[in-house]
Symmetry: C2
Subunit: 391 residues, 2 copies
């Protein structure tokens, strides 16, 4: 067992959503958080502030505390992706979802079209619809080996009122890590059609098999000038409840255009625990993350090999990134949604496919960021439930 | 010494803005936080979440965690002010400033007039100006005994493009607690001229001498229907860095009007540490607050009596609420601003009057939420500096 895996008892003692939304006989494998303890430097940073009850208006290194986040983001982008970013163009806020709503609001008008890859993280659909924009679905295409961006289809979807392309890279829930050529093509379309790109790169730390994440804004100044990159340590360092995320404007001009219509203080100030945790994660968390990633890779492979062998009717591609497997259960012939089948018959809570794409009722998203023991129990229950349903 | 007062060494060890913006020879008495440890139930609630590293998507009592804030707010308003509020009409967010920006955005259009009492908390000026609204200054009138609302003047200030009245009650920085008749008159104007009231009531817990805070929205259904009340435990329970505040819409119709143009997720989700601290403060923090308030009352009286005796040229009214004294130093004849005089000559950092009102360059706001020992040192330094300047 690794140092970060937790027992089911420790997990059930938590008061989080993952382990408490369903009954105590259900094993949760839904919402995107990991069943792990956090990196020691994060815990130490949080504990220091708590020990001092240092809950006043925060300063770090002589500056407003959120500037420490901006600087940590810039240093990390340089180190991990050789991407030079200007800390002055970062906006730290509470969460990535907020970081989607606000740019959609600023860079489009009511009724304008916003393109979203589907399947998609559900709040991105809301960010478009709740803001009164027109959702243009851009389906990922399964070519039999993996999900692809169909650039020709994208070009056909864009009309004169389209303003924004939402990109999710690595893609949640399909686990794709887009390659340079795909991203360049995507960027070319944005340039040719004069569109803003909102690029969710929150899974960029969770990439397997030696693949490389490429921030789309790092590809060229022309792409950067129209790209809003959003990311956060919350997924890869397992701290979503602490609420800290960043919005990065590819140029000062883009940033200024944003702030001209959306004052900075409208988004609220990030809290000091989230700030301290974020800075610790980004500056000292990598050794922990390397270990976690090695573990996640092993669990991913274990899930893949058992499913291929014991439930070969489930169609899926091994995720290139993220701790999510996007499983097509259509061939199992359930007469309820796939998520409902496993909840009712296996006491397993997966994320329902239809929340990512209304057409994907026979899909589930399986969050495998857990201990090997719990992953095995989940797989046992899946296999048993399908077997029982057939007999 | 009380259980919550802290030594100057413990305070200087903190990394907050208050104790670190100026040199280590300066005693800070500016930004609105207290030099105290927090209530034990707050610390226990924070520590529980930290011990469990329960940083995932949070749930409390089987619901989204921010609903626990809404319920704690409703219970507290009933208990403290006999005010019935509907938890469904509460929006929990990061901070009060954000809670000002967003309603100004929703309930007025660019160029519309927004009335603000002056002197005023500086971010309220920004909330009006940064949103492209027209700032209409509504001066508090010093009648020789205290600062008053001049309702006749208010009525003259309102024009056909005025949409919003910002009320701060208890008022920061003058320390006034408005009485029922004053609030009813203010509300009458809002009704007659069809205006929205944004009522900052963050200091409502910090009221002295047996006075009673009255939430303006509690006065009548007609006032409630046009009132957005904003508050937070951050001032009275000393947790501004943890970031949690509430916006309360007086009716479901007002709430729906807000959310129709400003989706809930645009404001971001509050963080779990701030939520746990807020719920602990509002449900278990009152015994601590009662002790703190008794201490603050004593320090206030000590400040007032020494200033009256030793610096009688300083004009001020004893604050009815808040831990701020609004001191008019005009008669001392400084040839720099009053804040600069004390910073340069007494190594004291007060909030500069001109940030609350450009005309108040000879005012300072003195934050006296500190130990008796530190308050005495501040008073000694003030008296000495004035004496030296005269000799």
């Amino acid at each position: 067992m690794t140092t970060f895996e937790l027992s089911i008892d420790a997990l059930r003692a938590r008061r989080n959503s993952k382990w408490n939304r369903y009954g105590s006989d259900v094993i949760p494998a839904w919402v995107a958080e990991m069943d792990f303890s956090v990196a020691a430097p994060i815990q130490a940073a949080v504990q220091q502030t708590v020990d001092q009850m240092d809950y006043g208006y925060p300063l770090r290194n002589g500056n407003r505390a959120d500037i420490a986040v901006n600087n940590a983001f810039a240093a990390r982008m340089k180190e991990r992706f050789d991407w030079e970013v200007d800390p002055d163009n970062v906006l730290a806020l509470a969460d990535l979802v907020q970081g989607t709503f606000a740019p959609i609001r600023v860079f489009s008008e009511p009724g304008d079209g916003v393109v979203l890859q589907v399947p998609a993280y559900p709040p991105f659909r809301e960010a478009i619809i709740d803001n009164g924009r027109r959702l243009i679905e851009f389906p990922m295409v399964d070519d039999g080996t993996r999900y692809q961006l169909d650039i020709a289809a994208l070009e056909r979807l864009i009309d004169p009122t389209t303003r924004i392309l939402v990109l999710c890279n690595p893609q949640n829930p399909t686990g794709r890590v887009f390659e340079r050529d795909e991203l360049l093509e995507f960027g070319r379309v944005a340039i040719e059609r004069d569109l803003i790109i909102i690029s969710d790169e929150i899974h960029s730390d969770l990439v397997f098999d030696g693949r490389k994440h490429i921030p789309i804004a790092s590809l060229s100044p022309e792409i950067a000038a129209r790209t809003v990159t959003i990311t956060s340590p919350t997924k890869s360092f397992n701290i979503p409840g602490l609420r800290c995320a960043v919005v990065y404007f590819g140029t000062a001009a883009l940033r200024d255009r944003f702030f001209k219509s959306f004052p900075r203080r409208m988004v609220g100030a990030p809290n000091i625990i989230g700030i301290d945790a974020t800075v610790a994660a980004w500056t000292q968390g990598q050794p922990w993350l390397d270990e976690v990633l090695a573990h996640l890779g092993k669990v991913r492979d274990r899930v893949a090999s058992r499913l291929r062998k014991e439930l070969p009717e489930i169609n899926f591609h091994i995720p290139e990134a993220t701790y999510m497997a996007w499983l097509d259960c259509s061939k199992l012939g359930f007469n309820v949604t796939a998520a409902d089948f496993f909840l009712q018959n296996a006491k397993l809570a997966f994320s329902p496919g239809e929340t990512f794409d209304p057409a994907s009722r026979q899909f589930i998203r399986f969050n495998f960021a857990t201990s090997t023991a719990i992953a095995d129990e989940i797989l046992d229950r899946m296999v048993e439930a399908v077997k029982r349903a057939r007999s």
